[in-house]
């Protein structure tokens, strides 16, 4: 018999699948360095934004994700430049170091939670910057470290050379984003992920129900730290330079904006959309010649998006609304909203 096809579920997902496939085969159509660079940078920020959203799922608001990117980037830079390690082990160590720091900091600081946690993460971003700046012998201070592209990989007869072309970076980023998105989505769907939501909504109740608040918060924070560290490492090796001011307070804020504008309801789709759209918007803005208009438009755009989206949603939620209202022409059924 014909299996019942839930087309309302399958069709949007197929469209997304097609888009993703298009992005993956993009280098076939164009090897324009600028286009590929935009996708690579957006992908890196998307990973960091996913980390932010994951931590947010447990009700914590981290203003210091830039610090983990810096930690990942500096770890890998120091290992490859000062100790001569090859790229791939350094890459993994970057994530691990970043995760360990997240674990240590989180264990101490997540106890407090709330606004204080946010301020401490903010201070963390500055502390990492100050350490990178002052620890001259290791980090070369403000001048930063100059990294090299990863070594060429030889697969059979094919050589993947990072130094001569941007395409290998592109695929590396796509893989990393895909892996991160899959892992995070899985976490979100799992029992662990659903527990996160519980402790975010009502910590007191959750604790009474036997959920160990700290454990979940620290797990989320550490996982976010690991992947943000990976993103930072890729960033450092893509730009081939890392300086203390590159990944600090303002980048943490940028990550937060991408995550929230993208939509916090989705662990993978939201941050990715937010990162790509905001980053590309920023690139196009920088081509405007009128001084000051870049910041003006960026700020105005973010505020307008927040004002015109329904309260509490992000851009990713527009996708669902588009299908429901425009394509399927569903009637809007508003359930009673409980009073707060």
């Amino acid at each position: 018999m014909m299996p019942f096809l839930d087309y309302k579920n399958v069709v949007p997902k197929t469209v997304i699948g097609l888009l993703v496939a298009l992005i993956v085969i993009l280098p076939v159509f164009t090897t324009n360095v600028i286009t590929l660079s935009i996708f690579i940078s957006s992908g890196i920020w998307a990973i960091a934004a996913m980390g932010f959203t994951l931590v947010l799922r447990t009700g914590q608001f981290s203003l210091g994700q830039g610090a983990f990117m810096a930690l990942g980037g500096y770890t890998s830079a120091i290992l490859t430049v000062k100790l001569g390690m090859p790229f791939w082990p350094s890459f993994f160590l970057a994530g691990i170091v970043s995760g360990i720091v997240a674990l240590l900091v989180g264990s101490v600081v997540l106890r407090v939670g709330g606004t204080y946690f946010s301020i401490i993460t903010l201070a963390l971003a500055e502390v990492v910057r100050i350490i990178a700046q002052q620890w001259e012998p290791v980090t070369r201070g403000t001048r930063g470290l100059i990294t090299s592209p990863p070594d060429p990989i030889v697969l059979g007869g094919l050589e993947i050379n990072f130094a001569t072309s941007t395409v290998p970076y592109f695929y590396f980023t796509v893989c990393l984003v895909a892996i991160t998105a899959l892992i995070f989505w899985q976490i979100g769907e799992s029992r662990l992920g659903r527990s996160f939501a519980g402790i975010a909504l009502n910590p007191v109740l959750a604790e009474h129900q036997g959920m160990h608040l700290m454990r979940y918060r620290v797990i989320a924070f550490t996982v976010a730290g690991v992947f943000t560290g990976f993103a930072g490492c890729l960033y450092a090796h893509f730009l081939t330079v890392i300086t203390p001011y590159m990944l600090g307070l303002w980048q943490s804020i940028q990550i937060m904006i991408m995550s929230i504008v993208g939509g916090i309801s989705s662990l993978a789709g939201g941050p990715i959309i937010g990162a790509i759209l905001l980053y590309t918007f920023g690139i196009y803005l920088s081509r405007l010649e009128i001084y000051g208009i870049q910041q003006l438009l960026f700020g105005a755009a973010v505020v307008l998006v927040l004002l015109f989206l329904p309260k509490g949603t992000g851009l990713v939620d527009l996708w669902e609304r588009f299908w429901r209202k425009v394509v399927w022409r569903e009637e809007e059924y508003e359930p009673d909203t409980p009073d707060d």
Binding site: I130, Q134, L201, I257, I264, G292, L296, G299, D340
Partner: protein, 288 residues
Amino acid sequence: MPPVGIWIDGLIQSCIYMTMAFGMVLVFSILGILNWTHGQFYMLGAFVVYYAVTAAGIPFPISILISAVVIGGLGILVEKFIIERVSVPSAQGALYVTVATIALIFFFEGTASMLFGMQDKGLAMVLPGVLNLGSFSVSYQKIAVVIFTLVIMITMYIVLNHTKVGLAIRAAAQEPVAASLYGVSVERLSLIVMGIGCALAAMAGSIMAPLYVVNPFIGGIPMIMSLLAIVIGGLGSLTGAIVGGIILGFLNSVVAYHLSYFSEVVLFLLVIIILLVRPQGLFGASLK
């Protein structure tokens, strides 16, 4: 023992941080949000005073009042049309407000860059001259800063403790629900408090304008310092804001005199220690 000049400098810095932090805490107590645009109102206040004095020839003290009114009004508009619209009544409501106020930082900086130009401007001609007091000198501008801050603080004290509005503010800060039972309209109060808070930031920017430079980017550092002062003093406490501002101001000058650029490191270490050991600051309400 640092020379007198350093202590005077510390006093001036304290005045600024105190005024900024006070405004920020006021907004936080009633609206429950950290207004990240606070620093931009400092910058805009400085510009209003600059144009009032140089383009319109209005005397400096009146320019400060004009700046307070204009920027206070701007703050009320921001609160009404942006913050209220964006805020979600849930635990994560603060998130959207934070993003909105941070986005406004970029917006105001960009607007100021476009309208006023990015080049440095100065108000050095206001109250020029130096008072020689033997081994050290004090400029009249610095004396003016201290006098203005005293006036502002005394005014705030009178308003908060001896007027109906002040009573309403204090009530709403402590017990919003009970206050509304007594007929206090928390929404209208939010607007008033936002206006006062932003006016304070504008006044801080105005009185400092002759001492420093006026350009679209001067709002960043006062914002962060104000935040640190609040952390030291305690998030919800007005007394804490004043004490935090004083500690921060003197710390900066004295430590910079002895340790030069390490003052930055010392400052952050202090903030981190406070956050770890006593997160509620010196005067904040203790956490459960």
